[in-house]
Symmetry: C2
Subunit: 147 residues, 2 copies
């Protein structure tokens, strides 16, 4: 069973101290779809834009957030295997990300993990500023593992 929305929010925002300290916000947590926001305040780098580590975190957490809203959290758990980031322009506002996995893909991943003990899934994301401009493009490879 996936987690109820409020529990998924608490896990996404507060389960990992490193993430909690960034004040990442889970704005929408639905089956197959999440939207997250990383505040600029408190996360600025040496030139006043959003630090790259905060952008990484914003790009990495959707894999876990989608896991919580969409996968059987009692049978499986996710790991990250790879992450590639291209920083396109300075992030001068809060930055948001949307991530989707369709129901057929989720079923494929869970069936494979049930059968093989593990299954991979990839999320390619665009991180956008308040004007909708892409500040970074990311591609992450996750592995779903059976408990």
């Amino acid at each position: 069973m996936p987690l109820p929305a409020e529990m998924a929010r608490v896990f996404t925002e507060e389960k990992i101290d490193f993430v909690k300290r960034s004040d990442l916000k889970a704005e929408e947590l639905l089956p197959c779809y999440v939207r997250l926001r990383m505040p600029l305040a408190g996360n600025q780098n040496h030139i006043g834009t959003l630090y790259a580590g905060a952008l990484f975190t914003l790009a990495e957490i959707p894999g876990g957030a989608l896991f919580l809203t969409s996968f059987d959290v009692q049978r499986f758990y996710p790991l990250i295997k790879e992450m590639n980031l291209r920083f396109r322009r300075p992030a001068t506002s809060d930055i948001s990300v949307e991530a989707r996995l369709d129901a057929e893909e989720i079923e494929r991943i869970q069936n494979e993990a049930e059968r093989e003990g593990k299954a991979e899934y990839r999320l390619a994301l665009q991180l956008k500023d308040a004007d909708g401009q892409v500040v970074a493009e990311t591609s992450a490879l996750y592995q779903l593992r059976k408990h």
Copy 2:
């Protein structure tokens, strides 16, 4: 002129709040060479190993730390353009990284940035646990810009 060592340490550990909150330690800051350590305590993920965002930070900061110890900090400043990470095994201890840039490469980068306004440099790093095992391999592309 590069920064004096104590000033480079303060800038590396404390200039960016996001980094300061992780308690990253600059263990050695020399011209052409830096060694940094990310503590596990306070940075664990949902399974008790070092969160990927802390590994990213440990891999990203050497580019800036080498800038501080080795480049003319009054004429130039660094930006990150790309970062690729491969997570090889769970990080179950504090994690360390060493980074080097040789003097000829630093001169090449600064001369190019002086002439063109910007110059790129790449750092390929191995993040290692307390036993010397590689937990992640990273490759970052930075850009040195002229003020």
